[in-house]
């Protein structure tokens, strides 16, 4: 039930982000000052913002930006976390000790604060700086998860057997251990998508996220804050987008956990 609802919502927004921009007639950067603050109507389904820009157009391009950034960030986090966590868990030793202290330090910060500080320091907002900032803390939880799972799997008979057969470490790690990490990593990634979407929108909301000429839900919400009386649609629609997408990934994560996590049964 949860899984289905999650897949449905996430798929819907992915499709909006993918083909939506092809269907809207206006560019999300077009300014028509004489058409400011128009309420939703048949010519502008979501109304217009303080620049007279079509909000539907910002919405669909924003979906694309939000999804693209989060997918990139989560993939990077997953990749870095998997490699670092694997080395730490599988080989142990000094590397393990140092990495785990570093992970502890990252966890010593309230996550978003570090992201905020990095984004603030990088100043010239660019897609790269946003992605970099969001990755600063994300890899740590994957490393910790992967390391823990590997410490547990390492003692399992099938791994001991693989060692006895004389398989190389790389083969054991990639062929025997990694496939067993799929389920926990999938669950983690789903929740990570949800938190990344919130973090990215929050950065853009504060003006520290995507560059001003990139349409984004967070930036529109940030701008809409000043015009709550004239144009509540500037806040309603991007907010709805964020909540739906985050809800979709939270449901997906919950659903996946119920289906895949052996510890739950």
């Amino acid at each position: 039930m949860k899984l289905k609802a999650g897949v449905l919502i996430v798929a819907a927004i992915f499709i909006i982000g993918l083909i939506g921009p092809l269907l809207v007639s206006q560019s999300p950067l077009e300014i028509h000052l004489q058409e400011r603050f128009l309420p939703p109507s048949t010519s502008h389904f979501f109304g217009t913002d303080n620049n007279g820009t079509d909000i539907l157009s910002i919405f669909v391009y924003g979906a694309r930006v939000s999804v693209a950034i989060s997918v990139l960030v989560v993939t990077l986090n997953l990749f870095v976390g998997l490699i670092i966590g694997s080395i730490a868990g599988f080989f142990g030793g000094l590397f393990d000790l140092l990495i785990m202290r570093l992970v502890d330090m990252v966890f010593g910060f309230p996550g978003f604060l570090l992201v905020l500080a990095v984004a603030a320091i990088m100043q010239q907002a660019s897609l790269f700086s946003v992605i970099f900032a969001l990755c600063i803390t994300g890899w740590a939880s994957y490393s910790r998860l992967v390391r823990g799972e590997i410490l547990y799997l390492k003692e399992k008979e099938f791994v001991v057997a693989a060692h006895a057969m004389g398989f190389s470490n790389t083969r054991i790690l990639m062929g025997h251990i990694w496939p067993n990490l799929m389920a926990p990593l999938l669950i983690q990634s789903s929740f990570n998508m949800a938190s990344t979407i919130i973090a990215e929108s929050s950065l853009s909301f504060l003006g520290l996220g995507v560059p001003p000429d990139t349409p984004s839900w967070g930036s529109l919400l940030g701008a809409g804050r000043q015009f709550l009386i004239e144009a509540p649609q500037m806040s309603t629609f991007p907010g709805l987008g964020i909540v739906l997408l985050v809800l979709g990934f939270n449901l997906l994560g919950d659903g996946l956990r119920e289906h895949l996590d052996p510890h739950q049964h």
């Binding site: 905020l116 964020i242 909540v243 985050v246 939270n250 919950d254």
Partner: protein
């Protein structure tokens, strides 16, 4: 007692790490901070004097140890904007942030725990499904949107409550609701699963068999035991409160540390940014420390580790 000292000792490297990371973050700034602070039109002499004032003419290692010594003496330098000491600026904002955080935490406890208990008692009923769906929705509802939505509904359309700024108890309502939505969901979920675990215990069966009134079983026998695991998410809650505060305080013009951080970022007031990040991180580390302690207090097994 030994456990407390051991844990306290372990805090030192974490705090040191927090300082080191904030220091290098600030010094990672691409380009010259003096240039950024003064803008393009400053004279050469102004730049040199500011550079000297900030100690930027010293080698990085010297700067690092000077700052480390200063921080140990609670000296975080002065704001470039107001010229007041950073520590004074931050301390002036503490009451507002504390008030907001406390109100949000209060809401989370008085709403989250009863909801979680109710859902657990009526497991798999419509109440349970309703509470669970509500909690997933709550977790997905960032202050980013609940803030503007609440302002629009209660301050603009209905005109019942003030839009922002700190003042009377009325001013506190909207920001604290906005900050607590996700935390209520978190507390509800944790209470529910913790209660469910406890309700399966033998002593609950015994209490039922003895014919004790359900109210007494749920609140006296079950909840008192279910509270302990809920404490473990206190660290998570503090994280949510501290980071949520930046957004909520900005939306509601609430004069706390979150708003100070946002304003200093806007003003490129780096000493204040560094001070805020360091201060909030210390609060977070201390909150986690207290969580560990309270957990050890309730669960003697941990003390032996």
């Amino acid at each position: 007692m030994l456990y407390v000292f051991k844990r306290l000792f372990l805090l030192i490297p974490v705090l040191f790490g927090v300082f080191t990371i904030t220091f290098f973050l600030i010094h990672m700034i691409p380009g010259d901070p003096v240039e950024i602070m003064l803008g393009d039109y400053a004279s050469q002499a102004d730049r040199a004097s500011l550079r000297k004032e900030l100690g930027l003419d010293q080698p990085l290692s010297t700067q690092y140890f000077t700052q480390l010594r200063n921080v140990m003496h609670f000296n975080f330098g002065s704001s470039l904007h107001s010229k007041k000491p950073v520590a004074t600026e931050i301390l002036a904002r503490v009451p507002a942030s504390f008030e907001l955080g406390f109100a949000a935490l209060f809401l989370a406890i008085v709403i989250g725990i009863p909801l979680g208990v109710g859902a657990a008692i009526k497991e798999s009923s419509w109440i349970d499904h309703f509470v669970l769906s509500g909690s997933v929705l709550g977790l997905s509802f960032p202050a980013l949107w609940s803030g503007p939505l609440l302002i629009w509904l209660f301050a603009i359309e209905l005109d019942w409550l003030p839009m922002g700024e700190r003042g009377t108890l009325w001013h506190l309502i909207l920001p604290s609701i906005s900050l607590s939505v996700g935390i209520i969901a978190l507390v509800t979920r944790m209470t529910r699963s913790s209660m469910l675990d406890v309700l399966r215990e033998d002593y609950i069966k015994v209490a039922r068999a003895k014919g004790l009134p359900p109210i007494r079983i749920y609140f006296h026998h079950a909840l008192t035991n279910a509270i302990i695991p809920i404490l473990t998410i206190l660290g998570l809650i503090m994280g949510a409160l501290l980071t949520g505060a930046v957004i909520v305080e900005t939306i509601f013009d609430w004069p706390g540390i979150g708003l100070l951080l946002y304003q200093s970022i806007q003003n490129r007031d780096y000493p204040v940014v560094q001070g805020c990040v360091f201060f909030v991180s210390v609060v977070y580390v201390m909150a986690n420390f207290l969580t560990d302690l309270s957990y050890a207090y309730f669960n003697p097994k941990i003390r032996q580790m």
